[in-house]
Symmetry: C2
Subunit: 556 residues, 2 copies
Amino acid sequence: MSAERLIYLPLGGAGEVGMNAYVFGYGPKGAERLILVDLGVTFPDMDSTPGVDLIFPDVAWLEANADRLEAVFITHAHEDHVGALGHLWRRIGGPTVHARAFTGHLARLKMEEHGQDPAKVKIAQPMPEMIEAGPFRVGFLPVSHSIPESASLVIDTPAGRVVHTADFKIDVTPVVGEAFDAAAWQEVAKPGVQALICDSTNVFVHRPGRSEATLSSEIEALVEGAGGMVVATTFASNVARLKTLAEAGVRAGRSICLMGRAMRRMVEAAVETGVLTDFPSTVSPEDAAGLPRENLMLIVTGSQGERRAASAQLARGKYQGIELKSGDTFLFSSKTIPGNERGVLRVVNQLSEIGVDVIDDSTDRYHVSGHANRPDLERMHDLVKPRMVIPMHGEHRMLREHVKLAKSRGYEAAIAVNGTMLDLTGETPKVAEHIEAGRTYLDGAVQIGALDGVVRDRIRMALNGHALVTLIIDEDGDTLGDPWCELMGLPETGRSRAPLTDVIEEDLAQFVGRAGRKVLADDDKLEDGLRRIVRNTSVNEVGKKPEVTVVISRLG
Amino acid sequence: MSAERLIYLPLGGAGEVGMNAYVFGYGPKGAERLILVDLGVTFPDMDSTPGVDLIFPDVAWLEANADRLEAVFITHAHEDHVGALGHLWRRIGGPTVHARAFTGHLARLKMEEHGQDPAKVKIAQPMPEMIEAGPFRVGFLPVSHSIPESASLVIDTPAGRVVHTADFKIDVTPVVGEAFDAAAWQEVAKPGVQALICDSTNVFVHRPGRSEATLSSEIEALVEGAGGMVVATTFASNVARLKTLAEAGVRAGRSICLMGRAMRRMVEAAVETGVLTDFPSTVSPEDAAGLPRENLMLIVTGSQGERRAASAQLARGKYQGIELKSGDTFLFSSKTIPGNERGVLRVVNQLSEIGVDVIDDSTDRYHVSGHANRPDLERMHDLVKPRMVIPMHGEHRMLREHVKLAKSRGYEAAIAVNGTMLDLTGETPKVAEHIEAGRTYLDGAVQIGALDGVVRDRIRMALNGHALVTLIIDEDGDTLGDPWCELMGLPETGRSRAPLTDVIEEDLAQFVGRAGRKVLADDDKLEDGLRRIVRNTSVNEVGKKPEVTVVISRLG
């Protein structure tokens, strides 16, 4: 057996939906030449990551092995696949980045935003063109998804062919972009495929997937039946949906107005790269404000209830001169991503207060998923006929279910979560190594490790409040005045009905008064004592144990 | 027309699902005698209420009018209906509380926990008994719900009869408790009903409701088909479901073990009050640990993914000597409440990592709702035939939809959100007044107003971190040493690669060095200046603007 091996190492996206980053390697053990597929972000939440701006995969391993990295391939332009490129590109050694035109256009913007050379992003043509990258030859095979020009990757290696599906669905009428081409897939499968690295998002959805084109008549009927203004929201990057919505609006006799920065940016990118050729003409928000509302349809950002997006602003009042009224209709042509329910319901209830009729995703008539459902995953397995199926792009429960599905149908399969390096060379996938693969937070302008404790401290202050104590000790080792206490995020008064700061300061003064010179001379003991007093008094008074910072100033 | 009027004033529960509290009044304007229906809590979340323990309706208006309050009626023992009783009972004047036996049992425990006289809770018999309370006569009419002995209230007033449904479903085979009795409802409707105050939770669910009894065979089949241990979770208060689960387990040849404090407390309450007479015998966790896993079924708390509940602990490892293994089955016989998705998915993915097969609520086979679906709401309207329908127990979108539904079927109807006082005396409901009706937080041991700023400060620290600055000024008005800075929840280093505290302290020292004696003499100016430096330097270095506390100590 050869000493060379083919490895697969997810650094993000395997065990979660988000921050995709998958490494493939080929060569002698520990010296494999590498390629990286995707480099995305995940979004923070108040529960676990308050104040964090973005979450990246931890690329420390790639950074340490940057000299082995041949290239990066971006499968499509969703933030969870390309969002970290600008932030991490330099850290991983500034490799060449390959992407198709639309994806590359947006990837270049991301590079520019971070002061990096956009020319490092090369525009790839779809297969049959293959891109050489060390021992790899990589082809972009178009697939349908909820963004234009998504591509699976056909990765040829000396150990055989690997197919990485990326995010995909099987759609023969996708409205925008190439239809699913079963013949092309059969062609890809012909030489034999060693491993299929496969999207797992919808493995629990048992019904067959539906085509984007099925939405058109439903949406048209809805718009036609609406009395007042119609507003529809979806992901800005879902250009096909924007087109479906806009065309339905036009057929129902309405002018179309796009609102939200991301919306305009996406349509521009799609037009510039030739992805979108026949989008209905639109009116500006200024012109829209002058139109009769029954002749107007807005297509807006904010399908996930994001506070600053157009939909949330419209729900709170006016946005760009346009105001919703009783009798208007608001359509969520989207699915609420788990974790965003509260934000979406906030918008829906605000719309309800205005008297707007909201059509949400519960009817399943105005939205289709961009991911392959279970029957379509089965079809993909059977089209590619790989030796092994390695599920990716999913929470652990999805990966596990996908492995069970593949095994039940006769394929080898294995779960590899972030940091699990698999050896794909043989008959079956084998765990080769475990790599430290955590998360990196973009916190303001700084990248910090998820375990650095910075965010943990913020969570503690959010739960417990914060107290600070200052004490001055003079040249002789005596206290100069009493300890001083300031509180933030704690109730002002507690059980004894006096201000909490006063009660704490009294107890601190007593402690200092009783403390011997030995304690006063010892910063650690003094600090511990003061901290304990604050916590005990606070618990007694208000039932909360704050975070405490003690500052002891010694004069002379 | 009489100068007396019948009023309805929701203080909680109308415009949200949670913290129910509904006031009814009868008498001369501004001097109505009052009764209160329910006094519940809502649960905090990290997004908007970090560190808060419980959320109550703001009862300031009731407190100010405590001398007019005749009595409190508790419809059932869910926390969102009775959870605030112990906390707020004294503030609203210590009124008599009426509840049926099971509810009263739990209400008395809540009174005792807060050092109040449990005898103030009177046990009510169901109708035909009517309880006098000032101008009101109130009867408890049994209805089905997801807790034993839920009751609608039939409220007779000089201005006619009002029916308050409380939380209800129409179930003729509820497993535990009284079956829905259509004849009794027709009897109630006979004299004519002025207003129906009606549950709105499931107004968007168009299919007819299903009975608790339909679950039995499905669950039995599931348990029978399971190989390893079976664990099922549901709300502890859903005693009928506990029975359904336990009986299915026994029929499938398994011993039943209840785990979680709330679970045992509820079953005890149900047995003590005679609600539950034939629950299968159970084994203790100690005994359970010794049984073959294929002969064991655990019924545990934590259906909402709560971190400390039994299900989360089992998912993390061992709990009370029992450890889950690959091949076990975990059933969520419950629905995930919006906002709890992340917590539930965390548990599901942890279970997946162990290799446990999870059956969630997506199949709709192992759980039925405790609330009336839309067709059952229609049936309720038509049974009671009220002059007007006033929707309650729902988010704004639900109340609005419920009003539309009632109006479309010929009933008068109006939305009244928390704080909206309706006059129900005439042909149609009329808004009489708006009352300040916010939220009160239980924060540790202290009740604070939602707008007090305490929680806002904690959220700001969570998002921005906290910096503190100390500066000592001597007897002559000169600085004594340099300003000192301590940070919490901020990255340690920023753009200039030096420790952030050092960079800030340098800038602070420069500022103080340049500051004239006038600034040094003025606490406000000095504090402003120091705060501005911290924020500017921090933004430049790490891109975050922390909350800042400044302590200036003046000697002499």
